[in-house]
Amino acid sequence: MNVDIAKTIAALPGTAVLIGLLIAAALLVILVNWRLLILALGAQYILIGLMLTRVVPIELAAVKALVGIMICPVLYITARRVNWGRPEEDETEEEPPADRPRRRWWHILGAGWPVRLIVAVLALAISIGLASRSPLPIVADQAASRDLTTGAFSVMLLGLINAALSENPLKVGLGLLSILAGFELFYTAVEPTLTIVGLLGLTNLFLALAISYLTTAWASRRSEVSA
């Protein structure tokens, strides 16, 4: 039964999964809301696992997705502990006065979202163009190789942008995790050794712990300043 479900999920059209992956990776650059960011990261890991089912055994792809899904609770717990990156006083803030303008729905995107959107779209255009012109010879199937190259290049480039443009440790960390995740999309297909998969998983987990630690330290100074 479980194997059937896995096979059904793995049979999802490759292009649909790729588009989903590109959207999730772009959202990691565009969004600033920590809840949505962690959700997008989880979605990115699941979609990477799904893409991998086309080139490696389902069990191995599932291990990849599981490592990612294990990272998300680590970051979620950290984010909750530090009040989602807001100073403590925001929680106790009184009801806003009636004359204050009502927030529009797009406030969750944060200030400067149009610039981040443009950067993400440009990065996607560059990586898709690069991957279409010279896809890496990952597997014999040309279409699968092209899709994997597109996914890997996009996730890595967007991760690099995230790491380079932010000063918030959580966002930088999501960028670093994305760089590794994008690379693993390509590398697992060419080097499906269980030991390497395990060592890469361990690297990801320790990286997530380091990011959590730095995020907690970063937020503690903000709380001290606001107090």
Partner: protein
């Protein structure tokens, strides 16, 4: 199994568990943290440990240079743990740093034996070494941060460069594998070489990938910075020696050594110039180490056995200056909010032993005679002068920059105290013994650097230098 690298990996791991369990007894766990790596170093001194150790599907070997490298790293780690014991009370330092040490030891044991890509022999990948090294480096984030609120910039940059290096190395390993199957594809060879060089420059903190170094040196607890600069960065240098020596594609390509030499000259010059411009002793330490990395690369870039020996002298002798300076800074920080010149005004009267460590350590890092750093720099200077006068001038300028930066700080450290009621702090006997011990060693190795010659001769004989 006993005569394999197993004790070198197992002992720090056992110590990590013990120090975590015995965290309530700070002095006891500090002793365990210092003794276990020292015991591992002693075992490596007494036994060659050259039997293969099956590890996750491949064999770990310990060749002569890596054996000496690990002895050095373990002795430095042991001394660092003793220093941490006398300066900070955070128990979390030991288990994490010991686990990082074990991971880095495994990385050096998992490096490629001989990668005969051109000769058509099976390709021996170095992806295990890269991943184990990355795990060790990521673990050091915890002692580097040290629980200080809001201090993250230097650590984030360090983490970023380490993580970016992982895909770069693994991709080059894959491309080398492809190249071994089709040796006529020159573009594969060029791409792999470029990626490997890029990865090495990233992990060695060469300019322009050095931005984390001054940040970490000024923000982190000084002995945590010393751990990263004296162990992780040195292990990255040994990884470079292993890769360049083991991969024929690299060691037969003179362009690789030209790039390393050029990167070294720029790094040494930038390190010296920026050290002069600082008003913070921690940042001076960071830039002095940057200049030292540049000097070692220049010596290695000469592509001769004598150049390799000089590079190893620079690397080994850096320890004394770095250890003394970080110990001095750690003691000074117990009563100063930061490492700025102003904060450490009159340090020589308030904490004389801290001032001694700081001043002598900085001058040794700068290569001032008769201290240990001078012996290393002198060898590198001789090698550089043999190939290019401009390069040797750059190395001299980098030393002058560090010395000048330190002299600017000296006028603050030596300024007399205005308040006659302030008495100099009394250091514990063990702290004084540690500083005096490091000081004596710093002078002995500065006056008699040949004491290291037999070890370095053994090491250079094992690395491949294609004339």
């Amino acid at each position: 199994m006993i005569f394999s690298p197993l004790p070198l990996i197992a002992l720090p791991l056992i110590a990590a568990v013990l120090t975590a369990l015995l965290r309530r007894w700070g002095s006891f766990s500090a002793l365990i943290a210092a003794l276990f790596p020292a015991a591992a170093a002693l075992i490596a001194i007494l036994y060659p440990l050259n039997s293969p150790l099956p590890f996750l599907g491949r064999d770990l070997y310990l060749t002569t240079p890596d054996r000496y490298a690990l002895i050095y790293l373990y002795l430095v780690a042991s001394a660092t743990f003793l220093g941490v014991w006398r300066t900070t009370a955070r128990w979390t330092y030991y288990p994490v740093a010991l686990a990082a040490l074990a991971s880095i030891a495994a990385a050096l044991g998992a490096r490629p034996i001989i990668v005969e890509v051109v000769g058509g022999r099976p390709f021996d990948p170095f992806n295990y070494a890269v991943l184990l090294f990355a795990i060790g480096a990521v673990l050091t984030i915890f002692p580097l941060q040290g629980g200080q609120p809001g201090v993250t910039v230097g650590m984030l940059r360090y983490l970023t460069f380490i993580v970016i290096g992982v895909p770069v190395f693994l991709a080059s390993a894959w491309i080398l594998d492809q190249y071994s199957q089709s040796p006529d594809a020159v573009n594969l060879a060029q791409t792999a070489t470029a990626l490997l060089l890029f990865g090495l420059l990233l992990w060695l903190a060469v300019v322009p990938f050095h931005s984390w170094l001054p940040g970490v040196a000024s923000e982190s607890p000084p002995l945590s910075s010393a751990f990263v600069l004296g162990i992780v960065n040195v292990a990255a240098f040994f990884l470079m020696l292993d890769l360049v020596s083991g991969i024929r594609l690299l060691n037969e390509n003179p362009l690789v050594f030209d790039v390393l030499r050029l990167a070294g000259v720029i790094t040494a010059l930038v390190g010296g110039a920026l050290a002069f411009a600082q008003r913070d002793f921690g940042r001076i330490m960071g830039y002095a180490v940057l200049a030292d990395i540049g000097v070692a690369l220049v010596a290695y870039g000469t592509h001769t056995t004598a150049g390799l020996s000089a590079a190893l002298f620079v690397i080994f002798l850096r320890t004394f200056g770095l250890g003394l300076m970080s110990m001095g800074l750690a003691l000074a920080r117990t009563e100063a909010p930061d490492d700025t010149f102003v904060s450490l005004t009159s340090l020589a009267w308030r904490r004389p032993w801290a001032a001694v460590g700081l001043i002598v350590g900085a001058f040794s890092l700068a290569g001032v005679p008769p201290l240990a750093g001078f012996a290393g720099r002198w060898g590198a200077l001789q090698q550089a002068a043999g190939s290019d006068l401009g390069t040797s001038l750059a190395l001299v300028l980098s030393s002058i920059g560090v010395v000048a930066g330190m002299l600017r700080g000296l006028q603050y450290i030596l300024r007399p105290i205005d308040d006659p009621n302030i008495q100099p702090a009394r250091e514990s006997t063990l702290t004084i013994a540690l500083i005096v011990g490091a000081l004596v060693l710093c002078v002995i190795f500065g006056l008699f650097p040949d004491l290291l010659s037999p070890v370095i001769r053994h090491m250079t004989a094992s690395y491949v230098i294609v004339p």
